[in-house]
Subunit: 463 residues, 2 copies
Amino acid sequence: MSTVVNAAALEAEFARAILAASRNVTPAAQETACRHIIDFAGVALAGSVHPRVRLAAGTLAGPLSGGTAGGRLIGSGERTELDTAVMLNAMAGHIHDFDDDEVLLSIAHTTVPVMAAAWTLADALGASGRQVVAAYICGVETMMRLGQIVNPRHYRDGWHSSATLGVFGAAVAAAILQGLDEEALLHALRFATSMSAGIRASFGSDGKALQLGLAARNGIVAARVARAGLRCSAGTLFGEQGYAAMYGGSAQDPAAAIRAFGAPSGLLEPGLTIKRYPCCTATHTAVDAVLGLMREHDIEADRIAALEVDVGVDLPPILIYDRPRSGLEGKFSMKYCVAAAARYGRLGIAEFEDDRVAEAGVQAFMDRVDIRVDHATPRPAVGLADHAKVTLRLADGNVLQRQYAHPSGSRQRPFTADQLQEKFLACATDCLPRAQARDTWTRLLALPATADFRTIAQACVAA
Amino acid sequence: MSTVVNAAALEAEFARAILAASRNVTPAAQETACRHIIDFAGVALAGSVHPRVRLAAGTLAGPLSGGTAGGRLIGSGERTELDTAVMLNAMAGHIHDFDDDEVLLSIAHTTVPVMAAAWTLADALGASGRQVVAAYICGVETMMRLGQIVNPRHYRDGWHSSATLGVFGAAVAAAILQGLDEEALLHALRFATSMSAGIRASFGSDGKALQLGLAARNGIVAARVARAGLRCSAGTLFGEQGYAAMYGGSAQDPAAAIRAFGAPSGLLEPGLTIKRYPCCTATHTAVDAVLGLMREHDIEADRIAALEVDVGVDLPPILIYDRPRSGLEGKFSMKYCVAAAARYGRLGIAEFEDDRVAEAGVQAFMDRVDIRVDHATPRPAVGLADHAKVTLRLADGNVLQRQYAHPSGSRQRPFTADQLQEKFLACATDCLPRAQARDTWTRLLALPATADFRTIAQACVAA
């Protein structure tokens, strides 16, 4: 019994730390949060018109589900049942794999599950911008601290952390926005352990975005039932057969991770990476190197005789497609990503449409690409080894080489405000007219001062 | 890649076996299915008025979720979003822990997740009784065959199989009712791997019934998105980091389990146990023995000086409450279950109300109960060792002893039709007037000949 008692105390400490952090948002954390919330709005707008998301919406928010309801979809403005709207907004946020992520603690796409929950709920409740920011910060940090406890084994074992941890992030964001007290928040966290699911084996298919949708939706459910007075067992998080033990073992010290909550905010340290390309982050350092070398040396693809990429040991099990047959598979193919970057000279949403992947020229170019595991560079103690070294062997015999330890968009190589705006507008105009997209950008910049979040949500509905 | 190719072939074989079984329902399987569907209706009616289920319904089907919709709640007849209705109907079916289960292959409450999905969907679609029976049979068998692959390690590791396997059962039932073809059914199964969650650490709290609700709801989602055309990766079930590997290892041979599908129907062999008492099945053989000895020897509780129970090695990790403080905890306390049976002379829904657990007499009686692990009787190769031996030491020095290998209500010691009706009416009248409950019983008996399932669903709405 003493194990359960200790676990219960630790679980309560976790809930207390989250509530404390929600009341202590620093200006620096708020500023960083806004960048990520804007990035979420952009990628979700682009995703909202994606055919797979429209298919899901057509069935889940369709006639069987019934008429008017409390949730609203980003982009289309369609109304449906709240939890379903959360799910569809999360799918929209992740379908392009263009949303930010964090590779040291959570090894997860942290923003989408948290913001899909916070966004949809704040839109339903008319919350303030400050409340959204606090909910977002606490949700993301929850994913990081739980990730610190179960990772890296959790992710390496095959779990899709964005979903398995995302449900906790969404639950916390929903709990903060709904004003849960410490007791209810504690049980929201415990209920989230009943809902943590998602495996990496689904990568390269609709299952990946769906898993983030489920995580976001389930997080809302966890917070709602806890708020209504349902209660879950002590020990479900940190007990002998609780979440930490079941989903990665208990090698890490949960108490240390919980003590680190918000000090400093995980948004600042280690920070999230805003993606430059709509594909797995693990491809980014290599793509940066290919595009950088080609631009600086003014190289055309047909001058490249061979393209070699040396990657960390963690990458091959993530980048599972050697010869992708679809855009979704291409996002998890290092060979395709570097080949497409070389062939098309850019790597945006369009380069992951199915016909771009099938195109004869890029398929032929893939024969010139060689992916090798770099055993020389040591595996980091935490997180993934996502450095990459690219070697271009040119037809004229010249050899060019570049190595990056961190992708552009990371804390180490952050986007400028212009780069952030450029990405936002490129994404948002997939769904909104350009003038509206520009107006929406301006409104998003003023998020912390926004009295009623519904004005921002309205700005993300195509006029 | 060959592992994934083999896994993909096996996954397709699984889908084919399910569809074939749905077209080959034998009279024996149909008859057994009806008994379990009736039992489901009874326990769900009793659960529909449970305060915790009403709390969940108040929030999940409340104002935030919006107005008219396609799902209907058993008992109250309230309408809400379809997937939410599935969830609440499953919670109602499981809240008393009075629904049937199967301890050899799935180690799960097989009927509730499957029937909550089938019931709610058939009610929305106006399916025929025969379709409901076929969907039910295939859903239950799916849970058993997947359970055969991942168990007993899966359950012993701490997974709540009723939920983790239930999502597959619900997905299959929904797929059959919606007429999915082989390709779509295959992807429904694969999507279910993205949603499989639930841990035993939540036992004794609202989390347990909630997990069955989530499983049933997610199963519907898996079938719906597959039907809409979304697709999931090959290998998510049987690939290297697919479901079977992630949730229990791959010691068992998936191919053998799939070949066994429907031959004979798992409903007939090994069969499910219809519960006589609303508590963990693992307590039933002991409670049978206590009540049997006391009745046959006309013994009052105060004549018992000591009550000893020898149980199989698998039981203590399930029956985790030595001193339960609530009715929900009491359901997972061997000490409470045998003490309450002795003290109250019966063990029904009322004996798990919080004040009955707290009652001084039964608490005092628990001091006279001793639970011991029986290491002499060998652990079975599959399933749980749920036999129990009870020894009553009477104040007058007499000693009475009885041992059961299987609980009453199991295939080995089945309910008579009268016993089934008695349990149904006892449960249903928690919600329906007695005359209506009797009429509902008659309608349920005619399920296979029912042209429109909505007439049966309507009979389970309190007039």
